[in-house]
């Protein structure tokens, strides 16, 4: 099977955003926080709730109506897991790009189909089970607490939520700050991998150094290490890998955080990243210290 090598599409200050599932508790809450951050949310969709408003944002029944009336370019989804697939297919058909799926608990079979269809249309899909993406000081399509970030030159790519905020807060406290932070998601099958994001960071002039936050399960970190070893990514890189104390065969919270046989151990990932020249911290706090040294 062939996986196309295409450019990732992210968001910026002017990006017009649609919120799918805007009338739910999470949807409402984060719509307000995203608007406060400066994200340009132009429409919301909840089937059956069209005609209303959330935080001054018009709500439509379908993505196509929203498209005609408000011309969104990107979508962020707070749709419950059982409905996530259909909502995502609607956004894909409407050509929204990127699409961020915050929802946790999406069946793998649904994710597989959604990601394949997005890929076929050349659409960047972030998630599922992600905190989203933040371009610090510009725009946020996500649920991360903005207080932990300050504009700076460190890019973060992560499989986790709160652990990312922990590391970001320490980077901020160290006086460095962040450029863009992207959660690729904690599920076994997600739309973006570390390499897609590293490739984007390589070209991003605002990003001087990068942090990879990984965890047990799969081999995405090992492949990122290989990509770095081969010269695909050349900026200074630090990493933290969670799950050294995990028990093989047991899921540690995230659907994707599981050591299967001898695949996906923290040791294997740490070893691979170290041999690619990445500084791997054994405590989250060491990441910020390492960055400080690397960035002079």
């Amino acid at each position: 099977m062939q996986v196309e090598d295409e450019m990732v599409r992210f968001v910026g200050k002017g990006t017009r955003v649609l919120v799918q599932g805007i009338t739910g508790t999470q949807g409402r809450f984060h719509t307000r926080l995203m608007l406060e951050y400066g994200t340009k949310i132009v429409a919301g969709v909840t089937p059956g709730r069209g005609g209303g408003e959330v935080e001054g944002v018009p709500v439509f029944d379908t993505v196509f109506e929203a498209l005609e009336e408000a011309e969104p370019e990107a979508s962020i989804m707070f749709v419950p897991a059982p409905q996530a697939k259909e909502a995502a297919l609607e956004a894909i058909e409407a050509g929204l790009n990127p699409i961020v799926i915050i929802t946790e608990g999406v069946p793998i079979k649904d994710s597989i189909e959604v990601i394949a269809r997005a890929r076929r249309r050349g659409i960047t899909l972030i998630g599922p089970n992600t905190p989203g993406i933040i371009r610090v000081g510009e725009c946020k399509l996500g649920i991360m607490p903005s207080a932990v970030f300050r504009k700076g030159r460190v890019g973060i790519v992560s499989r986790s939520g709160t652990l990312t905020y922990e590391v970001a807060a320490q980077i901020t406290r160290a006086g460095l700050g962040e450029s863009t932070c992207i959660g690729i998601g904690g599920d076994p099958v997600v739309g973006l991998n570390f390499i897609d994001v590293l490739r984007w960071f390589q070209e991003d002039d605002e990003t001087e150094a990068v942090v990879i936050i990984g965890e047990i399960g799969g081999d995405a970190e090992e492949r990122a290490a290989e990509f770095i070893s081969e010269g695909g990514f050349t900026k200074p890189t630090a990493a933290y890998i969670a799950g050294r104390t995990a028990i093989p065969g047991r899921r540690m919270g995230h659907a994707g955080a599981i050591v299967e046989g001898n695949v996906g151990t923290a040791e294997g990932k740490i070893e691979a990243l170290k041999s690619a020249g990445v500084h791997v911290g054994s405590l989250p706090g060491e990441v910020a210290k390492a960055l400080k040294r690397m960035m002079g």
Partner: protein, 380 residues
């Protein structure tokens, strides 16, 4: 959700995958009756949700129904890999000429299903994969085009089959794929797929269903939801009942965090400072005080736990609600254990004030909190 072998075989049968004649038994008497019904030699297999049962002595042979009863009695009085045997599967003994492997799983790298097949069946397939990777055939399935009969025939061809057996093998591969997709399998395996005369039979069966898809498989959950619980400890079963995201570990420091990554990092940090985590417990996001109280009470009541470490980084989660939950649990539980709390983020000041007033220790960073919990547990 992990199905036991006999449950997986039930599902297989429903999808037209041939399985040996047999029936599950919960007593020696039942096993005798099943063996009489089958006639001839039988195999008695312990039904526990773990692999490697053969090596662990969980599979026995019997020549007569009486012997089958004895074998069943022996297994039913034993443990296999630490799990008490409650049921055995009594099956006809197959005259196996060759053992193959056939499986369906999710490939995380390509984000799709993959069919795995090998002429080296009956052994640990991961060992085959690491020793002789060329002996494993991988057929990736395009998520939109699907797995088609010609893909299945190509697998059978590459395993060296032709004619009727090739057709038969490809038919079984198609059915396994249909089954896997229909029931949202994370993994389903036939190992070994036994060549018996001119037919192929699933001598063993494995089926794990994606937990996130159980909302649309109420029937399967109801019918097969119990087997997996047998592989869990009592504490874990209780956690499951309460709906907590919990994994038991063998140490004495109880750990609660919010978010899988942060909770894992907390465990790792405690270990790095020389402590021994007793569990993983992830509260998730936006937890109300009652839920926090429940989680804290759960660990206070766990006798193995000597010190409690709570590490919260509030985004959606509000620190004051966490603090209230902790204080309530302490008041009601009637069990006093040292606690170390780290609270940071939304409504942090209020949360810290509530805890300090109740006399609970609050630390500024996760590293400090972890180190302190290790000291309180008396071990470095």
């Amino acid at each position: 959700m992990k199905l036991l072998e006999y449950e997986a075989k039930e599902v297989f049968r429903g999808f037209g995958i041939p399985v040996p004649r047999g029936k599950v038994a919960e007593s020696a008497e039942e096993a005798i009756r099943v063996a009489e019904m089958i006639g001839g030699q039988v195999v008695i297999k312990a039904q526990v949700p773990v692999g490697g049962r053969g090596k662990a002595g969980g599979i026995l042979l019997a020549e007569t129904p009486e012997r089958a009863g004895e074998a069943a009695a022996r297994l039913l009085a034993s443990e296999v890999r630490g799990i008490k045997v409650r049921r055995v599967l009594v099956e006809e003994r197959l005259k196996i000429e060759k053992e193959l492997y056939l499986g369906l799983t999710v490939d995380r790298r390509y984000g799709t299903y993959v069919i795995l097949a090998s002429s080296e069946g009956g052994v640990d397939i991961e060992e085959v994969a690491s020793r002789t990777p060329e002996k494993i055939i991988k057929q990736y399935v395009d998520p939109i085009d699907g797995f088609r009969p010609h893909h299945a025939r190509w697998i059978a061809k590459r395993l060296g089959f032709s004619g009727g057996l090739m057709m038969r093998l490809s038919e079984i591969a198609m059915r396994l794929y249909d089954l896997g997709v229909e029931v949202d399998a994370e993994i389903t395996e036939i190992n070994p797929l036994a060549l018996v005369g001119e037919d192929l039979v699933a001598a063993d069966a494995r089926l794990n269903i994606d937990d996130n898809a159980l909302f649309r498989h109420g029937d399967l959950l109801q019918r097969y939801g119990g087997g997996e619980l047998e592989g869990l400890s009592e504490v874990e079963r209780e956690a499951r009942r309460l709906g907590l995201t919990y994994v038991e570990l063998d140490g004495n420091i109880g750990i609660i965090g919010n978010g899988a990554g942060l909770t894992m990092a907390t465990l790792d940090t405690v270990t790095l400072y020389g402590g021994r985590p007793g569990n993983f417990l992830d509260l998730g996001g936006g937890t109300p005080p009652e839920r926090v109280e429940q989680a804290v009470t759960f660990l206070l009541n766990d006798k193995r736990i000597r010190v409690l470490l709570v590490n919260i980084l509030g985004g959606i989660t509000r620190c004051d609600e966490i603090a209230r939950g902790i204080v309530n649990a302490r008041l009601k539980a009637g069990v006093i254990k040292p606690m170390v709390i780290r609270l940071s983020g939304t409504n942090e000041e209020e949360g810290i004030r509530i805890l300090r007033e109740a006399g609970v220790e609050v630390m500024g960073t996760m590293e400090e909190a972890a180190e302190r919990s290790v000291i309180l547990a008396g071990g470095r």
